[in-house]
């Protein structure tokens, strides 16, 4: 499958996680964020790893897709590891070069940060991999519905998220075409020095943004021509149904959170 298409894409396998209500999956992911922050020991990290891999495998989606989702962040993870390693001066000094030392605490915290980030990105991909964008929006709308009393309009928010996810691959495709068009006229971004690359990015951004506005205008025409009006009532083809499996799914994360906090 095309990597660009993985952005916000669901991969249908018909597993038990796919069948869950989107609201329970969103709740589970929020709890997972809390669990990650509560993990401070190698034992907790180990337990979290076993739990995460087990849940990911149970979706019947190949693990390589989850790993791929973390690939774009590899340099950020490396950066975080180096910063933590160099800035934390706790525990035993493992390596000393003159006045500079690497401490056990720094290495441990650096490793923890990277593992946390890796878990966070790979596991939360489970939400988008097992839920279609429409159902995800509906779930988000359901979770945010109590905030309607505070003046928030969840339907507008989810519409924006849905359209953004829908158009990311299209706009990425278009930027590739513009890059190739510029390369064909002798301005190959890959072969330019860093300073020139910066200048070239401007000449890439201008057509991409102009085209995004044009697409937005066309999309508005298409939506309005199909009778769309903001805040007008709509019915739903897919209805949210919270079942026992959803409750058990959320409880599973709560138990995991308690276990990790104890360890």
């Amino acid at each position: 499958m095309n990597e660009r298409l993985l952005l916000g894409r669901s991969i249908e396998t018909g597993s038990w996680v796919h069948k869950l209500d989107a609201r329970s999956k969103i709740t589970g992911m929020l709890l997972y964020l809390a669990i990650i922050l509560l993990s401070h020991s190698w034992a907790a990290m180990g337990l979290l790893a076993v739990f995460s891999v087990a849940v990911m495998l149970s979706t019947r989606i190949p693990l390589k897709y989850f790993i791929k989702s973390a690939k774009p962040l590899r340099f950020l993870m490396l950066f975080i590891f180096i910063v933590q390693m160099l800035s934390v001066k706790e525990g035993e000094a493992w390596l000393t070069l003159g006045s500079f030392s690497l401490y056990e605490g720094g290495l441990r915290l650096g490793a923890f940060s990277v593992i946390r980030m890796l878990f966070l990105v790979t596991f939360t991909s489970l939400l988008t991999f097992t839920t279609t964008p429409g159902k995800l929006n509906q779930g988000l709308e359901g979770i945010l519905s109590p905030f309607k009393k505070l003046g928030l309009k969840p339907d507008r928010l989810t519409m924006m998220i849905g359209l953004a996810l829908r158009f990311i691959p299209t706009i990425l495709d278009e930027s590739q075409i513009i890059l190739k068009a510029q390369a064909s006229r002798g301005a190959d971004l890959k072969e330019l020095p860093l300073k020139e690359k910066g200048r070239m990015l401007v000449s890439l951004l201008v057509p991409v943004i102009t085209s995004a506005f044009r697409r937005a205008q066309d999309l508005v025409y298409s939506m309005e021509a199909r009778g769309f009006r903001m805040d007008a009532p709509r019915t739903r083809y897919h209805r949210l149904r919270w079942g026992t499996a959803d409750t058990l799914f959320v409880v599973m994360f709560i138990i995991m959170g308690v276990a990790v906090a104890v360890l």
Binding site: L5, P133, T170, D218, L219, Y221, A225, Y237
Partner: protein, 285 residues
């Protein structure tokens, strides 16, 4: 200006325009004094050079753009703020770039987008979803992302999402211009099927085969209606063809060349008719 009005009586007109004008700047109107009517079930081609106001004209019909002057009546309702919703329910629009009209992240979501807005029940939506995806041969693509579809498939999805809303009138705004030859032919077959089912079709096009398949042609030039005629009349009018930047259909071009070479051939309605005319020459040699 040529006026060969085929249909100007508004007996069973589903669309009628009277003195319609539009312009962002009143000094430089894009469209001026457009008066026409379209009867139910007619397939109308709208032709003209780029920038003559074809797309603007069709966008006025369902208030995607607001008219500056004149009166528009669709299905008996004058186009006003209060009737926009109802008129948009009776006019469907298929645009040029199938990518930009895809609202949903999957084929299913895109077709349901319009149906959910109509506040239909689950059963009604389910029935229409199945019916129109099967009709357009896209029922196997329901879970597909637009990036996984060909241009022709995307345009089929766009048509299915419009037809599922059951509009009586469907407007195609250069819907075939980004399609390959095969997909164009598929679209032509779909259009012919729609005409048989009684849809009123307005089609902006530069394609000679599509024009020839339609019942009537409206030619726009410089923001006004330059001619209202049949496809055959259009293709016989070399001056108008040149002004609209159009070419004759291939059988017509071939017949004209044969006539030049002294082979007696009437201008055929189709390739088959041309072959039937030429076939006896095989035996006479």
């Amino acid at each position: 200006m040529k006026e060969t009005n085929i249909v100007n009586e508004t007996g069973d007109a589903v669309i009628s325009l009277e003195g319609v004008a539009f312009g962002y700047d009143p000094e430089h109107p894009i469209l001026h004094n457009i008066t026409l009517s379209v009867p139910r079930g007619q397939w109308v081609s709208i032709v003209g050079p780029n920038g003559c106001g074809k797309s603007t004209l069709v966008k006025l019909l369902n208030a995607l753009l607001p008219k500056s002057a004149g009166e528009i009546v669709v299905c008996g309702q004058p186009l006003e703020e209060e009737t926009i919703g109802s008129i948009r329910g009776s006019i469907g629009m298929v645009f040029q770039n199938p990518d930009n009209q895809f609202v949903g992240a999957t084929v299913e979501e895109d077709i349901l987008f319009g149906l959910e807005g109509l506040c239909l029940s689950y059963d009604e939506m389910d029935e229409r979803l199945k019916l129109y995806t099967e009709k357009l041969g896209i029922s196997h693509l329901l879970s597909k992302h637009p990036g996984e579809l060909s241009g022709g498939q995307k345009q089929r999805v766009a048509i299915a999402s419009i037809l599922a809303m059951k509009p009586g009138i469907v407007i195609f705004d250069e819907a075939s211009s980004m399609l390959d030859e095969g997909s164009r032919n598929e679209l032509l077959v779909i259009l012919q099927g729609m005409r048989d089912e009684g849809y009123t079709i307005l089609m902006i096009t530069h394609d000679a085969d599509e024009i020839l398949a339609s019942d009537r042609v409206l030619a726009l030039h410089g923001g006004s209606l330059a001619a209202d005629l049949t496809p055959e009349e259009l293709f016989r009018d070399q001056e108008l063809l040149a002004r609209c930047h159009l070419r004759e259909p291939y059988p017509w071009q071939l017949a004209r060349e044969l006539q030049r070479l002294g082979i007696r051939t009437d201008v055929p309605a189709s390739e088959k008719e041309l072959i039937d005319t030429l076939w006896p020459y095989n035996y006479s040699k």
